[in-house]
């Protein structure tokens, strides 16, 4: 008596509604912030491709093993995410510093020629996100008020 029973009319209706909802299930992006870049676009891949995230790929140690350019890509194209935060942390471990006015990452190319309470001055490497490449800048003044 505790086995299968035919559905009542009410339950049958509920199933019918569930069935029609099944045809347009929520998409993963429905519960996420809009992604300006890299929106979710499900793409079937061969089964022997990695189908999920690599183990520990959400750790700082993993991010520290990524190339600098990869870190910049993550920082600029995945903003507002944990990935951006981890990329920033990893860049800082490599002595890159974020300039909040230019919104670019800078690294001392050599010891600054001048350091005081308000700024340091010298030759820096910076990553130009518009031209997408590292550039050298001599005689640059890095004001500390713009240091993140």
């Amino acid at each position: 008596p505790l086995g299968p029973v035919p559905l009542s009319k009410d339950h049958q209706f509920q199933f019918t509604m569930l069935e029609s909802a099944f045809l347009h299930l929520p998409h993963p992006s429905d519960s996420e912030r809009i992604k300006l870049y890299l929106p979710r676009n499900p793409c079937p891949t061969p089964h022997y491709y990695n189908q999920g995230p690599l183990p520990h790929s959400d750790s700082l140690e993993f991010f520290q093993r990524l190339s600098t350019e990869t870190l910049f890509f993550i920082f600029y194209y995945m903003e507002g995410s944990k990935a951006q935060y981890l990329a920033a942390k990893a860049l800082k471990k490599q002595s890159w510093r974020f300039h909040t006015k230019y919104m670019m990452w800078f690294q001392r190319h050599e010891e600054p020629k001048l350091i005081n309470e308000e700024y340091e001055q010298g030759t820096y490497i910076y990553f130009d996100y518009e031209k997408w490449g590292q550039r050298k800048k001599e005689g640059f003044t890095f004001e500390y008020k713009y240091l993140e």
Partner: protein
């Protein structure tokens, strides 16, 4: 009905204005331009009265919905492009709501802000319900799903004003989700499950400090911030109640299979991260989960407090009686005694437990449990049955302890409590007995006083059974919980191991163990894995 003339146009104008403002600087500081926008709303008369504000939100929400219904079928663009455009508009609308809530009244006007939020949520619910009724199988969950999740996430963003009203925000959303439960809005079921299992929602409702977790494991000083747990338990019960009729028919159609699998994932999250929650609320869950949903039930019953180390049930000569934990009563919510109805029956039950009289009461229990409905599987009031079993058991434990004793095979016998259990095991028909034994087995969980008492009770009923049919049914109830895939509750394992190991029960001498070669192999296999 009877929107004032021109309100629709004003609403459309204001929404477009807001969208322009929002798009101009979406992530900088919308608050800066908000004051100017409020002035516009005032000029348009939207903030003149509660009625107009309500209509404004209703019309706005309906516009969002209509936009989705218009855009979604568009095959000329990719689904992700269509969604991105829709979300841009909806997210802007939600941002407006959040700012209105945040700046409603002064910074400390909690009631004003909460009232506005409840109003908006009520309007979204109302529009959804009407849409669901009208569109039926053409109903689309997307606009409502997006509005609700974005509203929730934005209202839970780090902000001192929003933090001060966080609890009312959570309460409002829980109430909203309860109103939109799958039995009421089946077309919204998938979106609903996604909403209530969102990681931020789970974290906000169930997260406790480590000290609170330890306190909640046992019946000690109650932790004050428990409402989140109560809310979430209600939502899970809503989910189980919806699934129940479909899960009873074990062959699951694909739509149900998907919802069921999603439910299992959510339960696994809870088992891993919030086992204390499952421990506390297991009773209400088991009340609504169909008896044949054995694995799902096991999942819930396998939970144990994270600070507890379970003794290996397969340890040779494990002395359960000397474990410290079996003297501690687990906390159970809700209060199951309220399910023992009518109150006159409860009085009679208490009288019998106290005086062991009148004997006629024992048959009264059976008839009270039975319902007038004769449909298969509906003949017993399961809530009442479960409550009686747990109540009698907990009263038995108290009674034994009051005599300075501990529950064991001797002390549980020859009592009013065991009279009731023995009588039920003999007097009930197969269906009733199965449900009765299940109610006992539902208490075989992590080491605690209930697990220990009910383990002893089940073994006692086996030993004292006056027919092999009862012993067979006890075995069946245990076995079917063991042969499903993991996890298995600790109490279930130690009870079964005791049954097959202890020569006092003469388990292997029973005919039903050898009734068919497959059954014999099954028992041997289970025994091997237990030994």
């Amino acid at each position: 009905f009877d929107d004032p003339p021109g309100l629709l146009e004003k609403t459309e104008y204001l929404l477009k204005e807001w969208l322009t403002i929002y798009s101009a600087a979406p992530n900088r500081d919308p608050g800066k331009t908000f004051s100017a926008y409020i002035h516009q709303m005032n000029v348009q008369g939207i903030l003149k009265s509660d009625d107009i504000i309500t209509r404004f939100f209703r019309l706005s929400t309906q516009m969002m919905v209509e936009l989705c219904y218009r855009q979604i079928p568009d095959q000329t663009q990719s689904p992700s492009t269509v969604r991105a455009k829709l979300f841009h508009t909806i997210d802007a609308y939600v941002k407006l709501i959040v700012l209105l809530v945040k700046h409603s009244g002064d910074a400390n006007a909690i009631t004003t802000k909460t009232n506005l939020l409840n109003k908006v949520l009520g309007i979204v619910v109302g529009v959804l319900l009407q849409d669901h009724d009208v569109q039926a199988t053409d109903f689309h969950q997307l606009p409502y799903h997006r509005i609700l999740i974005t509203l929730f996430l934005d209202l839970n963003a780090p902000d001192p004003v929003l933090e001060s009203i966080n609890y009312p925000i959570l309460a409002a959303f829980c109430h909203t989700f309860h109103l939109l439960r799958p039995r009421k809005v089946p077309g919204f079921a998938y979106a609903w499950l996604e909403l209530i299992s969102h990681r931020i929602f789970i974290g906000r409702l169930l997260g406790l400090t480590p000290q609170q977790k330890r306190q909640r494991a046992y019946d000690q000083t109650p932790v004050t911030d428990v409402q989140g747990w109560n809310f979430y338990a209600q939502l899970l019960i809503d989910l189980f109640k919806y699934l129940a009729p479909f899960l009873r028919n074990a062959e699951l159609a694909k739509p149900v299979q998907l919802l069921y699998k999603g439910t299992l994932r959510v339960l696994l999250i809870l088992l891993h991260d919030f086992p204390e929650f499952l421990c506390e609320f297991h009773y209400g869950f088991c009340d609504v989960i169909p008896p044949n949903c054995i694995q799902m039930r096991n999942l819930i019953l396998s939970a144990f407090p994270r600070n507890m180390r379970l003794p290996d049930p397969f340890t040779p000569n494990l002395k359960v009686d000397v474990l410290q934990e079996i003297s501690l009563s687990p906390k159970i919510s809700p209060d199951f005694q309220c399910y023992i109805q009518p109150s006159s029956f409860k009085k009679d039950l208490d009288l019998y437990l106290k005086t062991r009289a009148p004997v006629t009461f024992l048959s009264e229990i059976r008839t009270t449990m039975q319902q007038s409905c004769c449909e298969p599987g509906m003949r017993y009031n399961l809530s009442l049955l479960n409550a009686i079993v747990l109540y009698v058991g907990t009263q038995a434990i108290q009674h034994i302890r009051s005599k300075g004793l501990v529950p064991n095979t001797s002390t549980i016998a020859h009592s009013a409590h065991m009279d009731i259990f023995q009588n039920l095991s003999v007097d009930l028909d197969t269906e009733g007995r199965y449900l009765f034994l299940n109610a006992i087995a539902n208490q075989l969980r992590f080491p605690n006083s209930h697990t220990h008492y009910f383990s002893c009770t089940l073994l006692y009923l086996f030993a004292e059974a006056n027919s092999e049919a009862i012993q067979e049914q006890i075995t069946r109830v245990l076995l079917e919980r063991l042969i499903v895939n993991r996890p298995h509750p600790w109490g279930l394992l130690i009870t079964f191991i005791e049954l097959i190991k202890n020569p006092a029960y003469k388990f292997w001498h029973h005919e039903f163990v050898h009734c068919a070669p497959e059954i014999e192999k099954l028992f041997e296999s289970v025994a091997r894995s237990c030994m």
